[in-house]
Subunit: 304 residues, 5 copies
């Protein structure tokens, strides 16, 4: 995620880092070169009776813009939902620990429960980013817990089960009444909602054909655009063609980034920063002192 | 569902499998041939004083694009909601089993309850895909249960009732307090929400007239398009006509696929994979060892 | 509701039943005749210096299409919400009966409670469709109950009160603890949500001015369209004018149907089928044998 | 709110009452007169070399239509949410009274509680419409209650507190267990949601700049439109200019009405009717006989 | 937030304060001057064979308008959600205090709990606006509480923990049963939802590339617009160019304001007024007399 400070409106036009420009620069250059070729070839193919006008491209351009708008909206919704789920994880983590601290007897070993909570957040992050989990989880789990967690399809869900076991043990010992156990258990259910929600977003892309149709029409449109413009604009063709292509291609590329919000591209969610914030929050609530350093954006305003 | 790896933007333009192209190829070919006929007939019907221009088609094209955008959005919403419902089934299944394991005495026969949970997921899948349920359910249910389940309108709902009976029996035996029974029962209600939600999506299509109006206008528009373009574009007519037709027809066809997300077409939900994932998850949570193999995409990246 | 099987894309263009075509045929015919008159009158009013071009109609057409798109979306949302409410009624009915069966002693007269539940679904349907309720309700309610129910503003709400009374009586007899009564009572609240939601949709139309503005602009646009097209298209005017008018008028008419989803028009919800399905479901859950026949679509694929 | 019966599509075009036409008639007339002036002045300013064409107005018109569409959607969402909140008040009122009647001993003075519930609905309505509350509330509250209620910032919230006090008194007397008190208290929370939701809609308009930008561009567009049209349309300019202006201005004006749904304009919510319906419902549920008359639409189909 | 009274439609066109005009005036002036330069240079670059027409700008303009519409919608959603979260804080604050007053023994020191509630609202506001918290919080918290609160990452969350401690102490003393503690604790969870929701909106902007692409295309479009218009409009170019630029640039700037709703710009949320209203409400509910003055809009209708 980019957390760029406000700049002058004029200087913002020329931003390079953090934009999708670096990624699509070669495609725009290709479009520019194609436009120049088209200008050069104009006399030849005009003599063949081949001609293209802007009017049909106007229909096509507006139609593509409309469909692209809806698709970008769909991809952005996934991004927003993913962020909301991580926000809910923060909420559930705080509420769970607050309830645990407020209801269990003072001599309970809450620190080990906090470790499980932190492990859940990191495990979910690593599961979504396909990072090996063992090194990180070993810091928070006992060896026995670690073995159980790494053996299953969804490690985060097993951690949830371990948290449930911990609470059940408290209930067995009479430290929790059924009503309070029920309440704490609902917080675990909230975390289960976050887990399965993230798995769903990560595992179910926007229907492939939806992305493909727009990808295809956008690029075919941009390839044919110089031919349509050259009759009217002549020497100005490359500039206008690149400008229009930029508008369409950059939004197509951005939609692809937003579609998978858990990646590590420029416009993806800063899961490292969020999971560390959850860890800090939980440790501070339990008045522990070994707090991890806050993750800050790098020199390119990039937060991971 | 297609889970295609990222490819080069250029090669993606030529993707054939997994797109809707194979389905609409013949229609686009027809459009191409019609365009050629129109070019050939141009002198004849020009002499009759018949002429069409692009301008009115621009109004029509933009209007259809707008309506198609809204309708595609409506169909995509059904797809998203269907996927969310199955995600909720994963959530409820995990939470239910976690609560059962954490609250019931250690000597309870939880395995038989897990069988009911797995049977629910498979039964729902088979109900939505109109597959005969007996062979699969026989693996998870006793003969008596099976008879009851197959006798009713909604087998999955009867399985839910059996799960309720099982919990009620635990309560009768004093293994569950009222508050914990209430909590577990709420998880059954969550599964009831999933069941009725899926039945609703499967049973209530987007209003037929909505689909029909857009289907009709899209095809009439595409049929008349060559006549409108030929005056301006002449020899280029077939190419532009096919490109515009592709944009509109492919989105119309995709909307039809997304409208019924429980089917087995390219862009439908991978219910086989999801219900098997639920089964695996539940078996692993109960530390059982006979885990079904994970369903992977086939060679065409198709996941069912 | 139309539940039409999939047909060939070509034959679907010519569908008559179930579309809005029969309803708007006369208006399109009028548009066709007007177009012919306009062609005939062209020389006369051209000589008066009156002329219309397509360009301003392009602005108007696109603007109307955009507003119509948003309004159709609003009307479709009402349709979707109405269907979801009835889905929630199915959910609440099933959950309520499952909880009642699982928590009350085996000798309870559950059948009379099921009668109340079924009466609620039918009463809601009849209230929404303004059908006299006495004949149907008499099948499910005692004479005393019937008198109470028919005396009030909202019969379905009185049935809900009777269900509450029945549960309260069980609690008074000690058959239900407070926590279980609370849980069952929440299901009644869910049914209250459905009831008031349906009353809201039925009682509060889309703001009249919203419908009116679009109705008016659509028809004025279609009336003036032939005058704008005739200069460019001449003999082709009637065909293009009718095609564009069909696109706009059919969507305006469909929006009106969807706006009131509880009616009995082609694209309204099949409340008869849904309420009968609820009845069947409840009777089967209680293992009763006198099940009503399933309501199937008629020869025109129409389900009421 | 207008509850107009269905009319013939043709006669609906000429509706005057209930539309926004009366409000904007003078502006459309001004536009008409301006158009005539423009026609008269055409030779003079053509000679100055001043000319306007439709093409740039097409960009502007479509852009404004798109933004207006989104803004109207935002305003309509407020209207819908406001209506839903009042629907939730109906739900909470019914559920609260049903639970009170079903759980409290038969000799409880429920009538005084019903008075508080009715007072809440009326107080909320009067607070939203800035009507003096004392005369109406005096009918339902004791003198002591009235003094408390009128002394605070939000009278309706104080009534909620009084209802809470009443329930707390029942609990103190042992008539309500904690679990049932908790359940009833949740209904009060539901009413609190309605209260704060309505206050939010009433107190936070759509951002002023959003309304202003569209207001300004719509009117500047309409003022300049005749200049752009006159070159092409000449004598037809006034008619087309007024038609296009009507489309844009009427939607701008309607958006302003919907933005504040609690007013007493044509398209605002019928709070009088809704709050009276709630009163009737509660009195009938408590089997009281002094029911207020139902509020019906007036001769212009207007319901307040 | 601007709370401007209704004005005549004509005078509203000329509003200056509260609009985004002051902010973008220099950019529009630049556009105006550029247009004049373009007119002056027209003969020169026409002789070079450079020419631009409106047609390709029409495609670009409509595409940008569509994307801008969607992006503005996304930013407006953030504004609406932020306002809803503060509305939920009002709801939770009222409900929490009502429940506390109704369930705790009369001799409880509720005033100190009210101080914590007020401190939460102010702390959240100051956290979102990056204002030093110590001076304000010192009014509501004891020295010991203050030290704890200022030591952590999220002061508001620590206040929530203190509220939980207070309630837990009541439960320990036997003043609260588990069920009532659970109920009150749920209100704290509601406040936790508000807290994390606001943190999320403040910490996660709309993806930077989304804002950037539209910013860039809007300004490039406006810069090139005079070149495209000058051929058709000549002397009228500056006026039309500024009008179109105003439409696009003002919406781009407004979207930026709405994107961060917790700031102190014209169109941001009036957090001062809202948090003071919450304080007033809570003090009045507890029948205290030292009520802060209501915050009213300033002379420019601005409410902070």
């Amino acid at each position: 995620m980019i957390v760029r400070p406000h700049e002058h409106w004029l200087s913002r036009i020329f931003v390079w880092h953090g934009s999708v420009l670096p990624k699509i620069f070669s495609r725009l250059l290709l479009n520019f070169l194609l436009s120049i070729t088209v200008i050069a070839m104009l006399p030849w193919y005009s003599s063949l009776g081949v001609k293209l006008t802007v009017a049909p491209f106007s229909i096509l351009g507006v139609a593509i813009a409309i469909f692209l708008g809806f698709r970008n909206n769909a991809c952005y919704s996934r991004y927003v939902e993913a962020r909301q789920l991580w926000g809910q994880l923060m909420i559930a983590s705080r509420s769970l620990l607050r309830e645990v601290k407020n209801t269990l007897p003072p001599d309970t070993d809450i620190a080990s429960f906090v470790r499980l909570q932190i492990a859940f957040a990191h495990s979910l992050r690593m599961q979504l980013r396909h990072v090996p989990q063992e090194p990180t989880l070993a810091k928070y789990l006992t060896q026995e817990q670690l073995t159980q967690v790494l053996a299953v399809q969804s490690p985060a869900n097993r951690i949830l089960l371990l948290m449930g076991n911990w609470l059940a043990a408290q209930r067995q010992q009479g430290a929790l009444s059924d009503i309070l156990f029920h309440s704490l258990n609902n917080r675990l259910n909230d975390m289960s909602v976050v887990l399965a929600g993230c798995e769903r977003i990560a595992g179910t892309p926007v229907p492939f054909a939806y992305s493909l149709i727009l990808h295809r029409t956008v690029y075919l449109f941009c390839i044919m655009l110089p031919f349509a413009l050259v009759g009217d604009l002549h020497y100005m063709t490359p500039f206008i063609s690149v400008l229009i292509s930029y508008t369409f291609i950059s939004l197509d590329v951005l939609a692809e980034e937003l579609e998978e919000p858990f990646g590590v591209e420029n416009n993806d969610l800063p899961l490292d920063a969020i999971s560390t914030a959850i860890e800090t929050e939980l440790l501070q609530m339990n008045d522990e002192t070994d707090i991890p350093a806050k993750i800050l954006p790098d020199r390119c305003y990039q937060l991971t």
